[in-house]
Amino acid sequence: MDITILIFLSSGLFLGWALGANDAANVFGTAVGSGMVRFTTAAIVCSVFVILGAVISGAGTTETLGKLGAINTLPGSFMAAFAAAFAVYLMTKTGLPVSTSQAIVGAIIGWNLFSGTPTETKTLANILSTWVLCPVLAAVFSAIIYKLVVGPIRHTKLHLLRRDTYTRIGLILAGVVGSYSLGANNIANVVGVFVPANPFTDFNITETWVFSGTQQLFLLGSIAIGVGVFTYSKRVMMTVGSNLLPLSPIAAWVAVVSHSIVLFLFASQGLEAILQSQGLPTIPLVPVSSSQAVVGAVIGIALIRGGRGIQWGVLGKIGLGWIVTPFIACAFCVLGLYFLKNVFDQAVFN
């Protein structure tokens, strides 16, 4: 492979690394932070299932991002991913919770503005609506699941130790589903912008099984996420959970399950096909923020418990991050594309 291709892909891989470092904590944070699951177990499970989710089910959300803006040259894709990664880095540095999904959408719009490509308003409206819908849905799911699960568990009279064992297994299973959903939903953020200018070609593993170029791109992106999980997520996992509301292991399980359901709903082409065949309205396949889904889920649990103990200040910060991230990414993308085009003489769009 040409070395320049790897250089251009590096920004996406960096974004993948940042996503792995930050978002694995949404899936396994409380489990690892509370000592219920060992970090190594969490990291292995998370990486494997993020990769599977990305390669098997990552196409749906990528298609939506493609509709928003089909960045058609590698240098353009590089700058969009780089602008998103820069926004993520900047927000993390200032201590604001950040969403890679919002950063990449901001960056794509930046590319659209720079290249003069009109932004499809219907797709944009779809994406914007999911940013609100995602935490709200997660809150609704977590409130319902919490009510359904915690009440009966209290009446089971299971021994404390037995319950602990079941909770551990439950946390790992929820982590499996959560990691798969994270890979399926968020791989578009990492390498989605490279799909229209994808340097990889399809190859046949067997006569019927083709490993497509897009899947190869997803594999690379998800490996970058895995590297982020192994190298940096432990620190985030150890601090997560106590920030917004202290959670018991069972409440943490509810939060992870709700988060995973929401991410899966926004990524599943299978579910979309079923809804379509029944003539029902479909759920848009959009990369949503894993962090915001978890925040929504935690708030759902807090509300069903009577709304005590929520750190409203933290919630305000999250809201601020919501608004600021896409603007920073968009502005930085326009600026970066200008430099790339005029200083480095790269074709940032066709």
Partner: protein, 220 residues
Amino acid sequence: MKFSKDVRLFHRTKDLEVKIDQFLDALSESALVFRGAVDAYLVEGCSDQFSEKHHHVDRLESEADRLRREVETQLYTQTLIPESRGDVLGLLENLDHIINLIEGVFWSFDVEKPEVPDHCIEGFQALVTASCDAVEAVVLASRAFFRNIEAVGDHNHKVVYFETEADKASTRLKRKIFESDFDLATKIHLREFAEKIDDIADWSEDVADRLAIYVIKRTV
């Protein structure tokens, strides 16, 4: 490999559950034996029956110590119940102290052989009954902590009740002792025994108070 590890995890959990139950059985049995032993002492002094019960409680105390150590070690080496193991450890150690107190009273009877006058026998019996009832109730509260956390409050309520009864019985007994014509040394000697037996109920109440906090921590 993973499956067999999970099976082992369930086996270890079961093993620990059994050990905790056996530990609580030992405590409950110690209180029952203690009640019978004091009754025997009050009637016939340091008899064979009393000595046999003393040995019985000695064995139970050693067994409880062994079980407690094994449970504590397993909880930490196998990193089980990370959220509550500090509480479980505190609970077991405080419950173990109750058996130690019971054993201590046994040794005091055995070594010091206090002479209990007839008019104080009823007072001692009432005190021992209330203290042992408090221990029984705290054992039930502890079992509930592991299996049915919502019932802990009900048992704790009884612990508090029996502790108050033990305090009343102890005060009545001490009054009787000091209103009598014994020499001061005998009075102080008997008072010491009343206080040692009352300590068993006091300590049971302290464990119940801790349990109440553990319950709040686990339900928040």
